[in-house]
Symmetry: C3
Subunit: 421 residues, 3 copies
């Protein structure tokens, strides 16, 4: 029997490492999505933000955050050891698990980059990332997932029967609510809301954004099906659920957009796919394929209305819609576990109890993510200039932050000057 277990273990390693690699690649998806949805003058800046937050997230989470999330639990509130790789070299599984968790942390962190893509200074953004992966993400992660490495270390939300299979709440909502706080603190872009009128800012490259969505969709298979951490028959349904929810999310966002605007807006379709993916993430392992399709479809409808509401009613300027996609749909997906999940696979005894616990987890994530995100960005504002100067913002962050301009944009600029002269 020992040999059989060894082979299954080898297969688990192969599966988890490949899943980690897929999740890692989601960073490229975020980069393409965000660079495509912002204006060309900020595209390099946002791409470099996406690269750089992964650099910081990887190093900081590996050295500190991992211990806070999975170390010996202080009464279910946060972990207290495993810093600086201490104690991890006893079992190669720890390396596989650490790698998987690093790329998850990177995902949570990078969600923020989209919302405030065009209006925050590079250095401020990097320090914000530092606090997300050091405290905000791993502490909440400990509450919901603390037992993943050591079954004895269940966090307090877990102990209540909170279910978030692959992170609708832990990763996406947390990222989304920090993004909400950051967007409020940073404020709208120059020219976004003028005299009560809402101006939409044209995306520079929708094709690139579409490729970003495909890359994210690809990586999400690792995100969800990899969260089994074992290569067995369960991965099929999870992968299928993920795919169907994404497709249904995109499809119903398209229909919603077509009805509302008489044209299926490209951004709505793309955000609809992501909404479906975020929505199914919590319940990927406890939904039937038909229910996954329904959950994704509802997510696709929700995201279109949420995008309108946050932009037009609340007048919070989210450059790419990250708050709606990750925050709102993350909460929806978490509730959907209670509403549509297969009861036999859920820890609570009645559906109502499960729904209440799911709601509690989603609410706690909102308070924790939003408040701490607000504190981090407000505090940074006491010591640093958060926003570029107005003329820098108008010129674009590519130049002001990196001295990097796009030859073609430059040429067009000079042409316009000539024409206007």
């Amino acid at each position: 029997m020992i040999f059989m277990e060894t082979l299954q273990l080898h297969l688990d390693f192969v599966w988890l490492i490949l899943a980690s690699i897929l999740v890692f690649f989601m960073q490229a998806g975020f980069t393409a999505l965000e660079a495509g949805l912002v204006r060309a003058k900020n595209s390099i800046n946002v791409a470099i933000k996406n690269v750089s937050d992964l650099l910081i997230a990887s190093v900081v989470f590996a050295l500190f955050g991992f211990g806070i999330m999975f170390g010996d639990s202080a009464s279910g509130w946060f972990g207290t050891d495993l810093y600086f790789f201490q104690g991890l070299d006893t079992d190669p599984w720890n390396w596989a698990f650490l790698f998987f968790q690093i790329v998850f942390a990177g995902t949570a962190a990078t969600i923020v980059s989209g919302a405030i893509a065009e209006g925050v200074k590079f250095g401020v953004y990097l320090i914000g990332t530092f606090f997300i992966v050091l405290i905000i993400y791993p502490v909440f992660g400990h509450w919901a997932w603390g037992s993943l490495l050591n079954p004895d270390q269940a966090g307090w939300l877990e102990q209540l029967g909170f279910v978030d299979f692959a992170g609708s709440t832990v990763v996406h909502s947390i990222g989304g609510w920090v993004a909400l706080a950051a967007a409020i603190v940073v404020g709208p872009r120059v020219g976004k809301y003028v005299d009560g009128k809402v101006h939409s800012m044209k995306p520079s490259n929708v094709v690139l954004a579409a490729l970003g969505v495909f890359i994210l969709w690809l990586g999400w298979f690792g995100f969800n099906a990899g969260s089994t951490a074992t290569g067995d028959t369960s991965i099929a349904q999870i992968a299928l659920n993920t795919h169907l929810a994404a497709a249904a999310g995109g499809l119903f966002a398209m229909i919603t957009s077509w009805i509302l605007f008489q044209q299926p807006k490209a951004e709505d379709i793309l955000n609809g796919v992501l909404a479906g993916l975020v929505s199914v993430t919590a319940g990927a392992a406890v939904l039937t394929p038909l229910m996954a399709l329904v959950v994704g479809a509802i997510g696709g409808i929700i995201v279109v209305f949420s995008l309108i509401f946050i932009d037009k009613v609340w007048k919070i300027d989210d450059a790419i819609g990250a708050i709606s996609v990750h925050g709102v749909c993350g909460a929806w997906g978490t509730l959907a576990v209670g509403l549509f999940g297969t009861m036999a696979l859920l820890p609570n005894e009645t559906r109502m109890e499960q729904i209440l616990v799911q709601g509690l987890g989603a609410a706690v994530a909102f308070v924790w993510g939003f408040v701490l995100g607000w504190i981090v960005y407000k505090t940074l504002g006491l010591f640093m200039t958060i926003r570029p100067k107005k003329e820098e913002e108008i010129q674009g962050l590519n130049v002001s932050e990196h001295g990097a301009s796009i030859a073609m944009v430059d040429t067009i600029q000079s042409m316009q000057d000539i024409a206007n002269a």
Copy 2:
């Protein structure tokens, strides 16, 4: 022994799910390829078509098409159950298999988007996709692959010994011939054929198209080597064959192009790679590596001549060459199984018999795909406006279909107006 089988099964799940994910990602490849090869004013539209046809294909094929392709066979002609996931939850393998088949159906459907990329309205295209994944693809699929899920359900082409390992005919030719019908019904783009002269339309972004080819090449390893549906030693030769055919296809297309035009045209090299891939798909499991290289090389030569022939002689306007790549090379690859396949691995007793059956299958695919494609698009033309208005087409489908323009293109447009004034 039961445990050994369980482990192999787990490995099969891991392999098939990963292969499915790779095939899924081919959609990103088609998106990049097609957006790169069309003109900038239509690039967003074609990208969104590629996203949207996957949404429709996934939902419609999962709920209906899968049953038609793999359900209980009506005398080898079409399947009659398994609709709406009915009866699939008895075995997790069904979920893995369904996922793999969904992404295959998506591939067949999206091939059409390229050929008619710049000249068909969005809504029409989506309805066309609906009929492809509901009827055209799954019915033919049942004839050739009906036994894949249930060995007792062999379709009539299978029963004759027709071999199409991963779908040169079932996926690529079917997609290509529907594209041919659609291109004929839709007609050439404004300005393409004027007074008997053939105008070539400049691709907007060849670099993006090259990335698209690499992504397709990547996904094709899942397409071909995943079609074993089992993780064993056979996947090595299949993957190697796929790679060598792609390389030889590109190389010989480059040489052919260099000889014909004194310059190796970028599009010919890219289409040559795809031609090699399509050509080897039917025989990937029954060709030696040397023969795979030969089959790919011939595919690369064929595609260059086919592109010229269809454009210049037949004057059928295929915006990106999809008919030549998928239709013509799909037929070539299917025949090549008979011509170059290892006889011991083929069901027919003589090479001549195998060649005839291969030819029959390719011919049936042509008739089925072309005629049904023609009927679908002609019928749609009775109820809807298929083509954008001439001024919409000149303005570009990005704006007319999605209200999405590219800031840089807009600026240049206005600059030209100023200059012309």
Copy 3:
């Protein structure tokens, strides 16, 4: 016991094929990186070079180079059989191994394309590639890795205890030093060094380059963790090491750049990630995660200074920094095995001995790669025109080599002519 071995073998096949696929995809990464870092007028040309060198590398290495690298050894100097697939069909493992080695050879070859991206004719470049994969790469590969297929065939460097796990030297330094030779022979681009002044040439698309870096990073997991050629528990630490070195490389290059230039230059961050990856490649299996992080961080610092030195002091024009990233950091990573590797996992008895052997291997790679690269390009110069004509170079290689222009660039060009008139 036989069945257990069969299952592990199947898992090894799955792992090695997937790793090969990831390495293959690095070509897309190089394409995006190089097309993004050169000027728009050469972007198509460099993308097509990246496609085409893989075509040639795949066919030539499969038919010839593989035998030279892994065939029956002539006293440890080069292999003498296995040409044209002869003798390989006895064991399917040979197909898996051949596929993995083909994509490695493609990587070594394509490194050169970046350095001389904007200044060498297409045909010359292809012939250069031919000699790299026929002689330069496989002969050195035989010295260091000759025993990988047949344990009895250890090359002379291996026999001395030289350790280069996944190819910091064998692949990256060899590619980098050939690139150095090519860059010297080809000479700087028009306008690069004028009257002793160094002009920097603006990259056309940094976002695309960033995506290229993510794709390379993705592929590198296959490159390093796949070099185990077995799916077991060792892959976790290797993948983690790869990730941490990349992150640390990018982070410390960012810090270095920020200090030197008061702004974190986008190209430095991107090259820092690649530097970290190249640096950890030799030692990925013998470094602890902490040491991998350190080795990557140092690589990130080295690359920033190396880029300055080669450009400003030596005045060698390397269009994208390939010599620094692959040549210099490859040598660093090779030395780092001796400096930071876990002694128990290294073949030599003392650290000093190991360092000396590592230094010898790195030095031999420099001499071999540089001298043969120089001979190849110098000899080509005797028979062919290596560089485009000055007016072709100014017009850009997209047009002069492929007749392929970018519509938007054309428009801007004409606008400028109008404005200047």
